[in-house]
């Protein structure tokens, strides 16, 4: 036998051998350090695999299949979180649309309520609208007040 004879080691460990074969291999193990070590390593590995912690699902899926539940309902995230998220998303979308329309009104112009083009360019004046004038010549003011 070319040892370690891996398949026989596994069959022996799995209890897959017939009685006679099992007894013969058990006798072989007595005198074969290679097969014995292979068996011990495998049994240790198997034991460690069985001891591995068992991760659990984030929530109980069986509730989707209880009587009264409307069939198997797919669920990506918990209900309250999903509703809050979609509410914020909707509100944000509407806000962006409203802001865009309002800003676009400045570009289009044409209504009495809209700022005139001249007034709109006041932001580029040396003195911003409503600001104090540092000197008369900057603000096109005549000297002195009448």
């Amino acid at each position: 036998m070319n040892c370690p004879h891996d398949q026989k080691v596994f069959d022996y460990a799995d209890g897959e051998m017939e009685l006679v074969e099992k007894q013969e291999f058990a006798a072989h193990l007595q005198g074969c350090p290679a097969c014995r070590q292979q068996l011990q390593e495998f049994q240790l590995l198997r034991e460690q695999l069985r001891e591995l912690p068992s991760p659990r699902p984030a929530y109980d899926l069986s509730a989707s299949f209880t009587p009264g539940a409307s069939g198997a309902r797919r669920r990506r995230m918990p209900g309250p979180v999903r509703w809050v998220f979609s509410g914020f998303a909707g509100l944000a979308t509407l806000s962006c649309l409203a802001l865009g329309v309002w800003l676009g009104g400045f570009l289009v112009g044409g209504t009495g309520a809209m700022a005139t083009p001249a007034a709109a360019t006041r932001v580029f004046d040396p003195v911003p609208p409503g600001g104090l004038c540092a000197a008369a010549e900057l603000c096109n003011l005549s000297r002195g007040i009448r």
Partner: protein
């Protein structure tokens, strides 16, 4: 008057038969029995917690919708794992790149308060094993998971994988040897 036994007293086959007759509570019982096992199998297979959760849900939805096609002579467990396994491999073939999963969040961990050194050694051993499993090719990993963690017989594995039992046996041997080699190499690297 015939007294119906509660679902938790029925075996898998009886529950599945009653679920097929339209008793949703029977299927819910099967979900309770298998959701942890299906999830942990899928998590170690696809290595993504979100994907594993989605796939677990998909597995049970498919099983629920496909009960009419399930043959009552076939073990329900094998059929369920076959659905899960096929869904996982569809996902893996789509070639998503995933990071290694941290298993600590929901799993039982060693009690560090009793013997910190032993707990640390145990935790390191778990990490090493999980890491070795994750590095295996998916086909080898699944066969190790089905046999060594889920405890399926060769016949059940043959049904899940749709392979002859002899092929399952030889693939399992190769996977075991590969895992032993990986863990041996890691042990030798330890200071």
């Amino acid at each position: 008057m015939r007294v119906m036994r509660p679902f938790f007293q029925l075996d898998d086959q009886e529950c599945a038969v009653r679920a097929r007759r339209g008793e949703a509570g029977a299927f819910s019982e099967l979900v309770k029995r298998y959701q942890d096992r299906i999830f942990r199998f899928l998590l170690r297979l696809v290595r993504s917690r979100d994907d594993a959760m989605d796939l677990t849900q998909d597995t049970f939805m498919r099983a629920y919708q496909g009960l009419g096609r399930w043959e009552s002579q076939a073990p329900f467990r094998s059929w369920l794992f076959r659905i899960a396994r096929n869904l996982a491999f569809d996902q893996l073939r789509r070639g998503r790149l995933v990071d290694f999963v941290d298993y600590d969040e929901t799993a039982d961990v060693p009690d560090r308060s009793q013997n910190p050194e032993l707990a640390l050694a145990t935790a390191q051993r778990y990490d090493m094993l999980e890491s070795a499993l994750q590095r295996m090719p998916a086909e080898q990993r699944e066969i190790i998971l089905l046999r060594e963690i889920e405890g399926l017989s060769y016949e059940e594995m043959a049904q899940v994988l749709e392979l002859p039992a002899g092929t399952v046996k030889s693939r399992l041997s190769r996977a075991r040897l590969a895992l032993m080699e990986m863990t041996r190499a890691r042990e030798e690297m330890k200071p």
